[in-house]
């Protein structure tokens, strides 16, 4: 997890992974749980004994709604409004992220809600200045 400067910067490391379609996390050697996205400490038990890890990107979309139509951040001006979802990842972590494969309309969202949990796969959206994680509906 050496960053470009030769020093550890986990945040840079995460985004460098994302730009290559790799979903980086850290895994606790004590309790075995994942911290996603990665830090240098286990968010569950506080152990500093964590290792670099990669996640499959597989997950289940539990609920989906949408963002505001005016982006709250300049990075997302072109993208807003977007579908935003609540996801359980295969390896355990819960994530919230942009969802691809549905429109941010009450109709699409209601259909998704009535359908219940559906499988999703993480993908990388390359924004103007940063790669961003998103999840694509799988059916």
């Amino acid at each position: 997890m050496q960053a470009t400067s030769g020093k550890p910067n986990k945040i840079r490391w995460y985004y460098e992974g994302l730009s290559k379609g790799v979903f980086r996390a850290s895994k606790c050697s004590d309790c075995g749980k994942f911290t996603f996205p990665p830090t240098g400490c286990c968010e569950h038990c506080g152990s500093w004994n964590v290792e670099d890890a990669e996640l499959s990107g597989k997950g289940t979309l539990l609920f989906a709604t949408h963002s505001g139509s005016d982006a709250s951040h300049p990075r997302f001006e072109k993208a807003a409004p977007f579908v935003y979802g609540h996801i359980r990842l295969e390896e355990g972590p819960i994530a919230q992220a942009i969802i691809q494969g549905a429109e941010p309309t009450p109709e699409d969202l209601k259909a998704l809600y009535e359908k219940g949990p559906v499988p999703v796969q993480a993908v990388t959206l390359q924004m103007d200045d940063l790669p961003v994680i998103a999840f694509k509906l799988q059916d």
């Binding site: 968010e43 539990l62 709604t65 963002s67 709250s72 300049p74 997302f76 979802g85 819960i94 941010p104």
Partner: protein
């Protein structure tokens, strides 16, 4: 932790300004943040029968330093509040600020250090310092406001990746609530309407509220005869389906203040004191909930600690405020606390039980939507309302029977659940 207060602590004075816009609202128009702060502090000190020189320490709350540009707030406000040479600190726990300040003040008194502590919170969410002017302000754009507010949200991985407050705090929670309790989207929408109608009613009875117009009057103003028609109209779009705009916070500028003191000296003050029976505080980064969006672990911890410290049970609560930047989230918290039956909060709203004159009164000042939200000042406005209700001094919106025990829950953004328990002395 032992989770007890070794000595009894009381609130002996409270103050709160009108919540509104420093550039528009007549009651506060053109005031500097120094003067806005002083207005709340003066009310609290007068209420306690003290001057700034009578306090031992000042806990100065302000969250959005980008709009106020007043760090070291303890010293910058000292000549405006008469508190020169007192101990001080500037702190923030975002929308929980003033009540986290109350907790810190309570510990400083219960530790044996200070006898009297002034806590205040001040915020401008509507405007910022103009250029380098010492007094001119200019409005903040919608995006600027969220950029600065969202600085309190995970800057490594949350905000950069598309985090959206409306989704996380409203839409997903709403869907989780409907799914869990088998509530239809239509029933949800009707329940949210009724809750907002109650909050608007409360706001209309509160001369300091940001919005004092009832939903019925708003409908009339728009040429609609029916408030629910107004609710479902283009005046109230979905901000995060199935949650609508009017289930949200309205931003405001404002200040609040409280004076805390040793319980044994509080009774010799000018006004009826209220005891700080307990508190609980628990912070969490995103995501704020696991698979079930209605259960927030930080709230569970904060509630448990506050109940334990104060020794009260849910059935003892006579008045409750839960943080309602998001109305649906506030109902989940009320159910978590045990004030409302699980899955029945919307029914309670529809039945008018959450009104000031109902059997489960909540947020009688109007809450974050009608009273308005001025980040660091808001928790103090909630405490202000609770103290007024307990004293029987809440004016038109006074609960028929003043509560003996009040519980105030707030969410400090991004995220810190904070619960305080107040009791009569």
């Amino acid at each position: 932790m032992r989770n007890q207060l070794n000595e009894r602590v009381a609130i002996s004075g409270v103050g709160c300004t009108h919540f509104g816009d420093l550039m528009e609202t007549p009651a506060i128009k053109d005031m500097s943040l120094q003067e806005l702060t002083a207005a709340a502090v003066k009310e609290a000190l007068d209420d306690a029968g003290l001057s700034g020189q009578d306090v031992d320490a000042v806990f100065a709350g302000n969250a959005m330093v980008h709009s106020s540009q007043l760090p070291a707030t303890y010293s910058q406000m000292s000549k405006w509040t008469g508190t020169q040479f007192k101990a001080g600190v500037h702190f923030e726990a975002q929308c929980s600020t003033t009540n986290v300040g109350l907790a810190m003040a309570a510990t400083a008194i219960a530790a044996g250090v200070y006898d009297t502590v002034l806590v205040f919170g001040v915020e401008s969410t509507r405007s910022k310092v103009k250029d380098y002017s010492p007094y001119e302000r200019e409005p903040i754009s919608h995006q600027q406001s969220w950029l600065w507010t969202d600085m309190a949200v995970n800057q490594a991985y949350g905000v950069p990746q598309g985090y959206d407050i409306f989704s996380s705090y409203n839409g997903l929670v709403a869907l989780g609530y409907c799914r869990k309790h088998g509530i239809s989207i239509e029933d949800f929408d009707r329940g949210m309407f009724e809750l907002c109608r109650t909050r608007r009613l409360h706001g209309s009875m509160n001369p300091k509220a940001n919005i004092q117009e009832t939903m019925e009057d708003a409908a009339k103003r728009k040429g609609l005869s029916d408030a629910f028609e107004y609710w479902q109209s283009e005046n109230n779009p979905f901000v995060a389906w199935p949650s609508r705009l009017l289930s949200l916070v309205t931003t405001a500028d404002g200040a609040s203040a409280m004076v805390l003191t040793r319980a044994d000296t509080a009774k010799s003050g000018r006004s009826q004191p209220v005891e700080v029976k307990g508190f609980g505080i628990s912070a969490s980064d995103l995501p704020w909930y696991g698979e079930d969006p209605t259960i927030w672990k930080n709230d569970e911890r904060a509630v448990e600690d506050a109940m334990d410290m104060s020794g009260i049970k849910a059935g003892d609560i006579g008045y409750l405020h839960t943080h309602d930047c998001s109305h649906i989230s506030s109902l989940c918290t009320a159910e978590l606390i045990g004030y409302l039956e699980p899955g029945k909060a919307l029914d309670a709203a529809r039945e008018g039980r959450l009104r000031f004159d109902g059997d489960r009164p909540m947020s009688t000042h109007g809450g974050r939507h009608a009273f308005g939200h001025a980040w660091a000042a808001s928790a103090g406005s909630d405490t202000y309302e609770a103290v007024l209700q307990m004293r029987g001094k809440a004016g038109k919106r006074q609960m028929p029977k003043p509560p003996e025990v009040s519980v105030i829950h707030t969410h400090g953004y991004a995220m810190i659940g904070t619960v305080i328990v107040l009791g009569g002395m």
